[in-house]
Homo-oligomer: 381 residues x 2
């Protein structure tokens, strides 16, 4: 069900079509000769990959980065039938059976309060609810083993998405690009899958259906915007008030009656219009300098929706050449701050006012977004 | 290898013997008619257990508590061969293979700094290292399915234990005893197993052996004391400076050369000598009021070591009657505070001085340790 908010904000045209997961850049690296992953995936397997000697890319760094993915890899590759890559092309399937009778509900409002309380307790950094808008589900899911698309297997009757965001480590994020810094992603996925599966089990235990999902089944950013978790940024990421773009997003599809949240605005669009830090800092110029466009740079992004779109081909090629993922556009973003500090909350407030240029200048002066040497992060000389 | 610290602190006698896991109260509930678990374990399975109607023990509360255990249960009951209960009677067996060649090490000091940095990044609340003292390993491990003991399967050559502590939620801990409050335990185990397995994978990735363990294989408290994480309290728990007794402990056995930490003292013994809050608050009087003793109340505890010992039979019987675990002795402990607040750090300092009685009185005055109604925690009227 569409609330119309995204249609208006991103000028979605009538000819807009669902995204097919086979065009996702990771899936394209399986079937599209143009996208050559070289040693990229291999580097996640320490039995076959010899790390480099350079700082941030040595044996210690890859040992940590790969370990950070341990739980996510375990559930992705080692569980369920071999055709599933749970959390990436398929939703999780580790829920235990529910009770004989459903819990007694009073109001959707009270249910939502309790579900959010449970979500936070089970490790969610942020949590919001939206009505499920079918357009953000993938047209089909991709089967990497057999190199073909197959129907989405999401059971019928899911009415809501509970969207959760998991923060990534602020200190380690300062070291990107580095294999060390790749651990922010792995840890956040592992934490996220733990929270998502526990929350899905909680709803199952109440007697309702719940399916935990990370990057599989549907696109998280539009759902997160509808669920009031944040706004869309120039770097193609969700920008939150609490952690800026330094998050991973997951969701749970459910038929439990809930009360949807409302989208929020705290000036991100206006700020990104005057800021080019992510675009200027991207080594391969994958982030647009200009206005939002309705035509994507290639088949790995949506058509007929007016937004800033990252060039996924250029972006992924940089990852492949480094043998680790990159998050420079997260590191340098002026919204990437530690908001437990009051002065950073001041900065957030300033970014939402006509004084936003002043905030940008202060950021430069204080050298926010500068890279930390991986050695310094490890705490050794 | 023994450093002699625990021998002196707890007056360990020459006739001291390793503890046999079959005498652990949970294992006794499998084979000893005297320990009847009734519906206790059944209540963790929502398909067969009908929650009560009372506040803190209703359908929502059990749905949350059981969901909090989801990941821990998954790895305990659903993985590996059916005879293993990983994390409880057997160490985890989900590590992937290591590299062809070991990482180059410089000094044990530098290795330890890096391992601790990795541990924190992978989610550990506290981390310390001790030389492995064989006495704290179980004499044998218990096979619940076949109702018999079997040899400990820890591979030879493990020289150190890396001990990690995972904090439990402060707010929810206020609601114990309640099924809701039982979620502090489940969440901490699930988080803990995630950190432990990732850290064991990190060390494996470096080319060394590492086995992640929670309550299985050996006793964590003596190892945690040796590793400098805290002191022993009247309630039979490890008391830490950072979270008081509000933690769960796990460890990794490894042959990676490390530098052990030293035990710490911040006045816990002296404080527990004048404080009786845990003993006074225990509904079944399972916690001793008097001096440390060398004879245990029953076969579920060590002999020939002089310490405060909880009566595990009385304690577990209370859990069975409630159909959830209890943590009143954690909730009421004056060390159970939120130490991110400076005034609570003041209180911690005071407890370590001759003014400790004043701290106790202040605590009473400020009503620390009072129970919060589960309804209030859920945030509904």
């Amino acid at each position: 069900m569409s609330t119309g908010y995204l249609d208006k904000t991103f000028k979605i045209k009538p000819e807009f079509e669902k995204f097919d997961q086979e065009y996702d850049i990771f899936n394209r690296s399986v079937w599209d000769e143009k996208i050559n992953p070289k040693n990229f995936y291999l580097s996640y397997d320490i039995t076959n990959y010899v790390p480099k000697k350079s700082e941030g890319f040595d044996h210690w760094d890859y040992a940590l980065r790969n370990a950070s993915w341990h739980l996510a890899d375990y559930f992705a590759d080692h569980q369920g039938d071999a055709n599933r890559v749970e959390g990436f092309t398929d939703f999780f399937s580790i829920q235990l059976d529910g009770p004989k009778s459903k819990v007694k509900l009073t109001s959707a409002e009270e249910t939502t309060i309790k579900v959010k309380r449970a979500a936070k307790m089970l490790g969610a950094g942020l949590v919001g609810v939206c009505a499920l808008d079918d357009r953000w589900l993938y047209a089909s899911r991709y089967d990497r083993k057999n190199k073909k698309s197959r129907p989405l297997d999401l059971p019928k009757g899911m009415k809501y998405a509970i969207v959760i965001a998991t923060p990534m480590d602020y200190e380690l994020a300062k070291t990107v690009p580095s294999a060390t810094g790749g651990a922010i992603t792995g840890v956040a996925y592992s934490t996220s899958l733990s929270s998502l599966n526990a929350l899905a089990q909680f709803i199952t235990n109440l007697g309702y259906q719940a399916h935990a999902s990370m990057n599989d089944t549907g696109l998280t950013i539009p759902m997160a915007i509808e669920a009031g978790l944040g706004e869309y940024g120039r770097n193609g990421l969700l920008i939150t008030k609490e952690f800026g773009p330094r998050i991973r997003i997951g969701k749970i599809f459910t038929d439990l009656p809930l009360m949807p949240d409302k989208p929020i605005n705290f000036g991100v669009k206006e700020f990104c219009e005057i800021c080019r830090k992510c675009a200027d800092s991207c080594p391969v110029k994958a982030i647009p300098q200009g206005e939002p466009q309705s035509e994507p740079p290639n088949m790995s992004s949506f058509k007929h929706i007016t937004k800033w779109t990252v060039n996924a081909e250029k972006c992924f090629k940089f990852w492949v050449n480094m043998n680790t993922d990159c998050a420079i556009c997260i590191r340098v973003c002026p919204y990437n701050k530690d908001y437990t500090k009051w002065w950073n909350r001041m900065s957030l407030w300033l970014a939402g006012t006509p004084l936003r240029r002043l905030m940008l200048r202060l950021d430069d002066f204080l050298k926010f977004g500068a890279r930390l040497k991986p050695k310094a992060w490890w705490g050794v000389r």
